[in-house]
């Protein structure tokens, strides 16, 4: 009995090492999913971020057509990475509606001039109020909302070419 007890600390240390090593090799998923998926989009009404282009309100999301809502910002580097994918979605007939987080009109115009402009509307969320209302934890994020205004899908991070199939499928499923 005593002999076995002597091995207990070593065994406990081995378990500790295994836990640490598994955490190092497979880091935890730090993405925070919105809890609102499957629920109606909360009420909001954002003013236009650019003159000459409409803003975005929750009322517009209940018109019967699905919406792809891209939360982005000119100061966000991954948003530049996903710009070609948004342009491709727009080319395929999927309109992209934007929510610009903490942005200035002049920065936004420069961003759209440099990286492409697929946006049908852009709402200005200057104090992150709407981003927090939607349960979004960063930029860029993309939501798919169906024609009745129910959130159906959330994509966290930049949309890469590999993500296109899933995004298009989520949009088609929301019809």
């Amino acid at each position: 009995m005593k002999r076995i007890v002597l091995w207990v600390p070593l065994f406990a240390f081995a378990v500790f090492l295994a836990v640490v090593a598994s955490g190092l090799y497979a880091p935890a998923d730090r993405n925070i999913e919105s809890q609102l998926i499957g629920q109606p989009v909360p009420e909001f009404d954002l003013p236009p971020a650019l003159t000459g282009r409409p803003g975005l309100s929750s009322a517009a999301l209940r018109g019967g057509d699905p919406h792809l809502i891209n939360i982005f910002a000119s100061w966000c580097l991954p948003c530049r990475v996903e710009a070609p994918q948004l342009a491709e979605l727009s080319r395929r007939g999927i309109p992209v509606d934007g929510i610009a987080v903490r942005d200035r009109a002049e920065d936004l115009s420069g961003f759209l001039a440099s990286y492409g402009d697929p946006f049908r509307s852009i709402g200005a969320d200057n104090d992150r109020r709407v981003q927090l209302t939607l349960g979004s934890a960063g930029v860029p994020e993309t939501f798919v909302v169906d024609g009745r205004g129910v959130i159906r899908h959330q994509h966290i991070g930049a949309i890469t070419p590999q993500d296109m199939v899933a995004i298009i499928a989520a949009y088609e499923a929301a019809r």
Binding site: R30, R102, L132
Partner: protein, 136 residues
Amino acid sequence: MRALIAAIAVAAAAPALADSLLPPAHYANTQLADPRQEREAKALMETIRCLVCQGQAVADSDAEMAGDMRALIRRRIEAGERPEEIRAWLISRYGPWVSYTPPLEPATWLLWAAPVLLIAAGLWLARGRFRHRRKG
């Protein structure tokens, strides 16, 4: 001397944060005028997790997102909302994860029972030691 220069350089360097160019929200770093309300807001901020720097409460974090969350909390407290209503609002968006006060539910039973279990285990160990000593 070289160490001093290095220290100054490190202190002066702007961290490469992914933050916007807009100034912080009004209530991010400004207290509420009513001390009672500010006390409530501060207590809530200390138990709400920052979404960006995930080990910190929004009260402690310098991230822009944390500032916006502090502003949201102060705005809502000022408008007369109860702290627990605001906590529930945040949990309904981000899950129980966002709150540092875990609710009592099946997934957290072990967490809440842990102090009792550990004390019981300690007593059990100590009991063996005391008996041993009395005998000797």
